[in-house]
Symmetry: C3
Subunit: 348 residues, 3 copies
């Protein structure tokens, strides 16, 4: 087992492709065998500033099955309000600084997971704009927390990245293809009523890149992902003989695809000008849904999505319910990959 | 031990009287002996759309004592909003379909419990009317969820049924009477400031029926329980030589009773016309409280209530604090019966 | 190990100084050794009416590490509303009486912790005034609950006391000084934008008293702690040769101090007249912050605070980040002391 003790898991970019493959190989081994009792008495604290289903339940279940325990906190609801600014005179709304919070949780627990995204929303509401995208992608809270934590910090989704989803996608691609290298992987944008975060597509893109796939990012004009992540993906896949292209040509992108991963995200160009984006986006609605006709152009591609997914908006019932849909396997792999990661970070 | 692996526990009507007796006998055995360590590493996910004390704590405690773990989710607060409609274009408020939610939770956990009642409320507020009672009793969410779940689904209280309460009442009646068959059991309506759900009295009624008791449903005109459940109870108790009658004659109902189970519920006839019902109900307030005078007519009856109970509204302090009150034993049996059920559903 | 089975832990005043020292000695032993697996299958229920970080996570983590489990409830959010009045006709907003709640939780769990303070707030808001301080300090809910509980009840912070913080402070003082007896301990009031509870300073004061320290309470006029607790502290420390004085002379208080514990609290004289207090308090802001100049007067004192702390309001960054600050050790000792307490209360 690869030993990652003492490391944080904030972005897959902090790990080599080889390390990430080792974690996902361990995950697939755990899936076949048994994970009971591997982390007896270990405690993981989970801070969810945003809602969650898969992330929270997979983390809690993995810890419980391995003989450990996870504690879920909902900051701002069942805790104090937290501060991360340097030198701040704390006479306002915040009550506890990460300079205390991080070492205190570190002394009570063996690892801390944090989900903090200014972009995740529930229901039909849009996120409030609290800063520019360039500021938000700094992920200040989680990075400041990590600075003061003596125990591994795990990113449960920040503004920039969702590396646990990346691990699950890597495991799924390995499981489906054995050797994903050189296969055509399409990450396609899809219409959605709300401007969604870019963290997940960033980490999904990197997952394909760390496997050396031939990647096509298919998105309409104005919907480029963060260039920093696209370039990192290009370099990582290139290092293994893969390639990366960006296009808005739907037909050619689907042609010959072996994996189609659908995801909606908000336009970074329009970030904060949501009404403008909503008007512009209407024209894209019909053309960008993942449907049977598009899938028919592929080389019998598998269909991937991180979930939750809006049916008949992002993807048709026909595609997601088809035998080529691996979305449930991909979700299940969240459990096995986080179990593997926790063993690598905390195992003794 | 009776093996119920792979079954769902949505209603006691899905089980034979014999199977239910086997579960409750196991519960009473566990109560005397020991339940530690029987479900090591097993994980139960609990979805509470409504508040809970007994149900949640008994499930979590039972899992913990048996070496497993329960994860409590509060949908809509710490999760996405869920959809269960077929073929829906999900461009509104809902973000995740049970077609994904159910198999995903199934792959993370060994069983899933769901409390979803449109009729449960907290404090002094009434429930909002979202559909007719006939629609609500379909329990669409939990049934659709179950359709897509690969693991046992446990009803933690729906609009129609509260089968875990039914099991606890069966165990309590067995414990008190040894052989409850042929004893007079009165399920009496009581006044309450709000129109409460019928799920609990339905399952309590069936509990007495599965034990072959001579059942009297005592309620004022306009307060009939759902005929489908009353008929099922009549058939079930009749099959074992018991009987069922419905009356509004308070005195004759209490005469000779050996068990009095009090419960308030809203009028199905008035469902949605709550102000009208409230006015009509005022006249019933004084006459329907369970008090010492009524209990004095009985054959030294035990007093039962599912809890929580509004003291001096549903029942007087004098009755609930008397030695014939078994409400605390009945509540405690929630722990032993759910432990027994979980062993039957998940034990290996 | 000291055997406290069957006792409640509501206030350190219910225990002798010797018993409290035995608990904290055990805590420091556990800190050095190992606490895994000491409470297998034990279940602790935690009722948090108010937010928490340290208390909740330390309790949950301690139980998990010892092989048990803690269940956290947020009354009024995920439960019913509770009643504790005697003989009340419950036709209003409350749905469940502690006469049922306490024995029911007692039958499901091995111990129950309760945090219920009318004075704790989050963010920038002040607490609502629901009663006079003299009424609030009765801690009616927790005391009534305890009356009907068959299992140990642990105070997780009430209006009058926060005994778990007291234990952690005792452990920290023992750890720092070996023999704290006769050393100069200053509990200093500090400015804070909101009127905070007195529960924590009461228990901190008693912690120093149970160790026989020479205590100085440093506070501005109008900020006396509850006389009942001050007198108890005076008697307790006096019984061991220590002393207690109350002063508003900042310089003389700091002179020669070996431990400075900072805490803000609201004026009991002004309780409920918060705007008046806020105006009066402005004049104190600059003079009462714990800063480097004040610490320079001491005999190389350690700096203590219960956390969360408002940096640069209660204490400067320079002091809290200095090597003499033991606030993180003090917080970590919350884990070891609650583990020790739980072993004494529940161990078998």
């Amino acid at each position: 087992m690869i030993d990652l003790r003492g490391r944080h898991f904030l972005s897959t970019l902090d790990f080599s492709s080889g390390e990430l493959c080792a974690i996902t190989d361990l995950a697939l081994k755990i899936k076949r065998d048994e994970m009971h009792g591997r982390l007896p008495g270990k405690v993981l604290s989970l801070l969810f500033f945003n809602p969650s289903v898969r992330t929270r339940v997979s983390c809690e279940s993995a810890m419980a099955r391995m003989g450990g325990h996870a504690i879920t906190l909902n900051p701002g609801k069942d805790t104090w309000n937290f501060e991360h600014g340097e030198g701040v005179v704390m006479d306002g709304n915040t009550q506890e600084h990460v300079k205390e919070l991080a070492p205190v949780l570190s002394s009570f627990c063996d690892a801390i997971g944090i989900r903090k995204s200014e972009l995740i929303t529930t229901g039909a509401n849009r996120a409030e704009v609290t800063a520019s995208y360039d500021e938000l992608k700094q992920d200040l809270f989680i990075n400041r927390f990590t600075e003061f934590s003596n125990k591994p910090v795990i990113n449960l989704e920040s503004n920039s990245s969702h590396p646990l989803q990346g691990l699950a996608d890597m495991a799924t691609l390995k499981e489906e293809f054995g050797e994903p290298r050189g296969r055509k992987y399409v990450l396609t944008w899809a219409y959605h009523p709300k401007p969604l975060p870019v963290a997940t597509p960033h980490s999904q893109l990197l997952a394909a890149a760390d496997l050396g796939m031939d990647i096509t990012i298919l998105r309409p004009p104005g919907y480029d992902l963060d260039g920093e992540f696209v370039e990192a993906a290009r370099n990582r896949t290139g290092a293994q003989g893969g390639s990366l292209e960006v296009t808005d040509d739907i037909d050619s992108a689907y042609d010959g695809a072996q994996a189609v991963c659908a995801k909606s995200w908000g336009s970074l160009e329009y970030y904060g000008r949501f009404d403008e984006e909503a008007r512009m986006k209407q024209a894209l609605k019909a053309a960008w849904i993942v449907d049977e006709a598009k899938l028919a152009r592929t080389d019998d591609a598998i269909f991937m999505h991180c979930l939750p997914v809006r049916r008949n908006v992002v993807v048709t019932d026909g595609v997601i319910d088809s035998p080529r849909s691996v979305v449930l396997k991909e979700a299940e792999n969240r459990l096995w990959t986080v179990a593997a990661l926790l063993q690598c970070l905390l195992g003794g």
